[in-house]
Symmetry: C2
Subunit: 110 residues, 2 copies
């Protein structure tokens, strides 16, 4: 994951509705939830929801899959983990106080 991908992911998460969506989808597990369900959960109109889901998908943070009339969205655990890993990268090793959340062996000492 490179700098511009990380910026895209951070930008995507740095918005109230989208942060709520991601947290909801992460909690939903790998099957995710249909757009309509997510819209109810985060109190968003259809077009507004679609706009935000599109940004999350574009950032690689969610994936979608049509099932009959519905489109199910789910969190990309891989991308979430990748972004977090990038953020932790320079903390580990040098500054263990920041990265008490890092597993031994995961740190990328630069």
């Amino acid at each position: 994951m490179n700098e511009s991908q990380v910026i895209k992911a951070l930008s995507a998460l740095a918005q109230e509705t989208r942060l709520q969506i991601i947290r909801y989808l992460v909690a939903c597990g790998k099957d995710g939830a249909a757009a309509g369900t997510i819209g109810e959960e985060v109190n968003s109109s259809a077009s507004r929801l679609s706009f935000h889901l599109n940004i999350l998908e574009n950032a690689g943070l969610v994936t979608s899959k049509r099932v009959s009339r519905r489109i199910f969205y789910s969190a990309s655990y891989e991308q979430m983990g990748g972004m977090i890993g990038y953020l932790l990268e320079d903390c580990c090793g040098n500054h263990p106080e920041v990265t008490s959340c890092c597993m031994p062996g995961t740190s990328n000492i630069s």
Copy 2:
């Protein structure tokens, strides 16, 4: 750390210059670096740098301290850790594959 603080921190990081600044400061350790030094590091004019440092400081991600003519900026490891913790919150427990970076015991199972 609440939702709006996290959004502020994510927004602050979701910009090329500021992401570079934070990564540089994290690497600098707790004494940080003077504004001028940071500006050279990230190829930024003084006013542009000041604008971005102000946003990072406002988000609580850096702190500043004047030493004679210079102002030293350093990363706030506490705020970085807090933001990362919030992002990992709902991943842990439910979805261990996302949080291979989490230390056992750090997870906030909701």
